[in-house]
């Protein structure tokens, strides 16, 4: 019996070894460094310094990522809902062909595009001005936290919409048709019939989007490298400018704590769905 169990476990050993060597060991080392003072004794010095210097940035990161996640959810639900419920096949086909484009644009390129697009004299303000919709002289640019949110939402919405629209398309259409026959409008069907049934997939998509946004360095560094900025920028700065791995790892610990909360929700969901999501 034991031999059989061993022979079944042996093949997964390389995978476990890889996870231990490439993930658990570096993670453990970064945790140890975060709790070690420059003179080598265990201490919370790095955390005190990290919160004193970058407390606002940690809060700013949580706010930006949370707002971006919520907006991503709203837009993904709207796109997915229209793809399933849209009554005009032509409009559905056009939407289907354009909404996925940002998936294929790397974060750094998206940030660079948005940086010039949303600047005070960027293409967006110029186009709106040329259409006579706004007066450019009175406009300001959006090159701060707002541009970071626009870039994150623009980049992550297609990813969540792709997952959610797949789940929506797989639903039994009988309930949707029954609601429509009883006179429910599109928005009501989406909110009361469809979204509750794809809530799990939506949650998983949003959690993955949340964790990705938390770890992206290129977008905040390209758009708003000044103060306040996001944790990833501060970590890169501590390592590149001061070789201060202690404070960088303490900031990293704050990042895992935030991502860990999202992972905990994901795992609970995963257990509830029998590992299907």
């Amino acid at each position: 019996m034991n031999d059989r169990r061993l022979s079944a476990l042996l093949p997964v050993a390389p995978a476990v070894a890889m996870v231990l060597a490439l993930f658990v060991y570096p993670l453990g080392m970064s945790l140890v460094t975060a709790f070690t003072a420059p003179d080598g004794r265990p201490s919370l010095e790095n955390f005190v310094k990290a919160f004193e210097l970058y407390g606002t940035d940690i809060l700013f990161t949580v706010l930006i990522v949370t707002v971006s996640t919520l907006l991503t959810g709203v837009f993904a639900a709207a796109i997915g809902g229209y793809l399933v419920l849209g009554a005009h096949p032509g409009v559905v086909a056009v939407l289907k062909s354009i909404y996925r484009w940002p998936l294929f644009i790397p974060f750094i390129v998206a940030a660079q595009c948005m940086r010039t697009f949303l600047a005070k004299n960027g293409l967006m303000n110029n186009t709106l001005g040329a259409l006579g919709l706004v007066d450019i002289a009175n406009l300001s640019g959006l090159l701060d936290w707002r541009d970071i949110i626009v870039t994150f939402v623009g980049k992550q919405t297609p990813f969540v919409a792709l997952l959610v629209s797949g789940a929506m398309a797989a639903l039994d259409r009988a309930t949707i048709e029954a609601a429509a026959n009883l006179g429910a409008g599109g928005l009501r069907i989406l909110v009361e019939i469809i979204l509750p049934q794809v809530g799990g997939v939506m949650l998983v998509g949003l959690i993955l989007a949340f964790v990705t946004m938390l770890s992206v360095l290129s977008v905040p560094i390209m758009i708003s490298g000044g103060s306040p900025t996001m944790i990833a920028v501060d970590m890169a700065f501590r390592v590149n400018s001061y070789s201060d791995y202690g404070v960088a790892n303490a900031l990293g610990f704050a990042s895992y704590a935030i991502a860990g909360l999202a992972a905990w929700i994901y795992l609970r969901r995963n257990v509830a769905s029998g590992g299907m999501l």
């Binding site: 079944a8 995978a15 409009v91 056009v94 939407l95 354009i98 909404y99 010039t116 293409l123």
Partner: protein, 100 residues
């Protein structure tokens, strides 16, 4: 009247989405071929591939960096398909079947 408003709304929303997706990309393309472009001009004043020359000149490291990026991306994504965990789980399935 209601139908016209519906189409206006649909057209406006779809147009707005297309503008937010393709506007920044169009902007990137314009900047890539602009040599001189400043306020209040709506389009570049001089056009050309001057900066492309800068990027691809022999002394530039950009081409090597591009190669490294593509190499890392290819290795990472191909390792997903041949990772020990995938092979491991297949072997594990076989071992379980063999063990009855």
């Amino acid at each position: 009247m209601r139908t016209a408003f519906g189409w206006l709304l649909r057209g406006g929303l779809l147009g707005g989405l297309a503008f937010m997706i393709f506007g920044p990309l169009a902007n990137l393309v314009l900047w890539a071929v602009a040599i001189q472009w400043y306020f209040p001009h709506k389009l570049p004043l001089t056009w050309g591939f001057k900066y492309w020359g800068e990027v691809f000149k022999p002394t530039s490291d950009t081409l090597a960096a591009l190669g490294t990026s593509v190499l890392i991306a290819s290795i990472t994504s191909s390792s997903v398909f041949s990772s020990p965990s995938r092979r491991g789980s297949r072997w594990a399935e076989r071992a379980c079947r063999a063990a009855g």
